[in-house]
């Protein structure tokens, strides 16, 4: 098998690690999000929902635990959507000519960058989880070590698929756009609907039907559901609502993410065959 994508991966990771400030910021920022937003909001929610009766026999988790999954998902979304920008810079600064005139099949560029976006997302998710546990996020509570291990695997599978999907989307945009400012604008515009029609920060049960429908096709919702299922459990309640996830539902969520990644891959591949760099 041609391992050219590893070359692309190597270069991208090299640059990621080389820029200490960037690396540091990308790790600390989501942790701060969890700390400030999470703690501030959880006090509010806890007060509001304190009077509601908890469903009997169901484990109740705090808001911080609830949005822990949301913050991980959100960070993965941002990181993956921005990770394609490197292609735009490479294209504009002429660096991509070297790669495009080499025997490396173009598909490997997409795969290589995809893998590095995935790696970055894993590192970030790890940092957020570690930091979250320190803050009192009740992930993996009452799990045996084996259960924790398999839950982590499940989470990685979800995050990996999700980040690939959005990286492919980002790569397709990057290779099509001319200016970094334009790309920035498009990405910011894109993140909004994904973010606010998802269950990352609040429950979607009380959404109007249109938004609810949007939220069910939103990959971010599926990622959050997956993380919650693996990290918290299949039946729990938080902020006065009960959440149940069956195995089938989680499988459907995963298939939805796979389908999303697959479609985005095809789009990215199509955009890459069109590109000419001079």
């Amino acid at each position: 098998m041609h391992t050219g994508f590893l070359t692309i991966y190597w270069r991208d990771m090299l640059r990621f690690i080389r820029f200490r400030t960037l690396l540091f910021a990308s790790l600390v920022q989501p942790a701060l999000w969890l700390a400030f937003f999470g703690i501030a909001m959880s006090n509010n929610f806890e007060r509001l929902t304190a009077t509601m009766p908890a469903a009997p026999g169901v484990r109740t988790v705090g808001y911080l635990t609830f949005i822990g999954a949301g913050v991980i998902a959100m960070t993965t979304l941002f990181t993956s959507l921005f990770a394609g920008t490197v292609l735009l810079f490479d294209k504009n600064w002429g660096l991509m000519r070297e790669t495009l005139s080499s025997p490396l099949p173009r598909i490997h560029i997409i795969i290589g960058i995809g893998l590095s976006a995935m790696t970055k997302s894993f590192i970030q998710a790890g940092v957020i989880m570690g930091f979250g546990l320190l803050l009192g996020v009740q992930f993996f509570e009452g799990y045996t070590p084996a259960q924790t291990f398999f839950s982590l695997l499940g989470i990685m599978l979800f995050i990996g698929t999700f980040s690939l999907g959005f990286l492919f989307l980002s790569a397709a945009i990057a290779i099509t756009m001319e200016s970094p400012e334009g790309m920035q604008a498009v990405i910011t515009l894109l993140t909004m609907p994904f973010f606010f029609t998802s269950n990352a920060l609040y429950p979607v049960n009380s959404f109007p039907p249109v938004l609810r429908a949007l939220s069910t096709v939103n990959p971010l919702t599926h990622l959050v559901s997956g993380i919650r299922y693996f990290a918290i459990g299949s039946d729990f309640s938080s902020i006065g609502l009960r959440y149940t996830y069956t195995r089938e539902e989680v499988l459907v969520s995963f298939l939805a993410l796979l389908a999303f990644a697959g479609i985005m891959f095809l789009i990215a591949r199509w955009r890459f065959t069109k590109v000419t760099v001079t």
């Binding site: 190597w10 070297e98 005139s101």
Partner: protein, 321 residues
């Protein structure tokens, strides 16, 4: 390569170009800015599609086997294409890996090439900290990394100081001696003249003429005589009648006469002829045709002054390079 054409939308950048580069040769495209040199290089290096025409490189058809062509060539682009955030070694390492070179071969080749372009001391320096000449040398080393059969160089010495240019010419000759065929473009007369085995002069996307440097110069005749006279028009008419005069070109202040014979002996005859026609001569210069003269002759334009008109030469030198 045959009948190559390329359009950017409505703009015809390359117009029906055909030529053959022999194995082991240094071949130059000499042409002014916007002539279409880079466009040809971009097509030959698979960065632009072949819209019309057919090309064979290192035995492979560019249209049918672009992968094989890519394997066989090395490229030095006109603009710098080095990642500022990678070190000299990493740049070469990345390139070697793109071409699936095995690890040990990569390391050996990196050592060898850094020696060749005298960058051993800069191995672990980020390219953003290199000077322009060093960057260019690194790009040449990168182009050679995979021991290509054909090396394409687009304006290899653009913007470099005279010493660095001469050094780069030396590398190019070295590389060529080791068996690499080289295709380069340039708008420097001296570069085309001194470096290449054969030259094509290209203008407006067309090849105007192709040949060895001395062949091209010889088409202008044995010598060039520059004259300033009291009546250039009449002088021109008179001289065109002489057998040994190949042609006369009018310049702003004087005439350039292309002659078939040794000018040293023809000059007295010309002066006699003009004097008997009642024309006064105020300035004379005799020289061998240069690449500049060839260029002007074939394109009808001057890249730089030919150096025969004294006044303008001085002002150009002062303002130019």
């Amino acid at each position: 390569m045959n009948d190559l054409e390329y359009f950017f939308g409505e703009v015809k950048a390359v117009d029906n170009i055909s030529f053959t580069v022999k194995k082991g040769e240094i071949f130059s495209f000499l042409g002014p800015n916007g002539a279409g040199k880079s466009t040809v290089i971009n097509i030959l290096t698979t960065l632009l599609p072949v819209q019309k025409g057919s090309v064979k490189i290192a035995g492979y058809d560019l249209k049918k086997e672009p992968e094989m062509v890519r394997e066989s060539i090395g490229i030095v682009f006109q603009e710098l294409t080095l990642d500022r955030d990678m070190t000299v070694r990493e740049i070469l390492e990345y390139h070697g890996r793109l071409y699936s070179m095995p690890k040990t071969a990569r390391q050996e080749r990196i050592d060898e090439l850094l020696g060749l372009v005298e960058l051993e001391g800069k191995r672990d320096v980020l390219t953003r900290h290199l000077s322009g000449g060093m960057k260019r040398r690194l790009e040449i080393a990168r182009g050679l990394m995979t021991r290509p059969k054909v090396l394409f160089m687009d304006e290899p010495t653009i913007g470099l100081d005279p010493q660095t240019r001469i050094r780069i010419w030396d590398y190019v000759r070295d590389i060529n001696r080791q068996g690499t065929t080289i295709f380069l473009t340039t708008h420097y007369m001296d570069e085309a003249d001194q470096l290449s085995d054969r030259i094509s002069i290209i203008d407006h996307g067309k090849i105007v003429v192709t040949g060895r440097s001395w062949e091209l110069k010889n088409t202008l005749g044995e010598d060039l005589i520059y004259l300033e006279t009291s009546d250039n028009w009449t002088a021109s008419d008179l001289l065109k009648k002489l057998d040994s005069v190949k042609g006369v070109r009018e310049k702003s202040k004087g005439l350039i006469i292309m002659v078939n014979v040794d000018g040293t002996y023809l000059l007295p005859e010309i002066m006699d002829k003009l004097r008997s026609g009642g024309i006064r001569i105020s300035a004379v210069n005799l020289k061998k045709p240069s690449m500049d003269d060839v260029f002007v002759h074939y394109t009808g334009r001057e890249l730089r002054d030919t150096g025969m008109e004294k006044g303008s030469t001085v002002s150009l030198r002062a303002g130019g390079r």
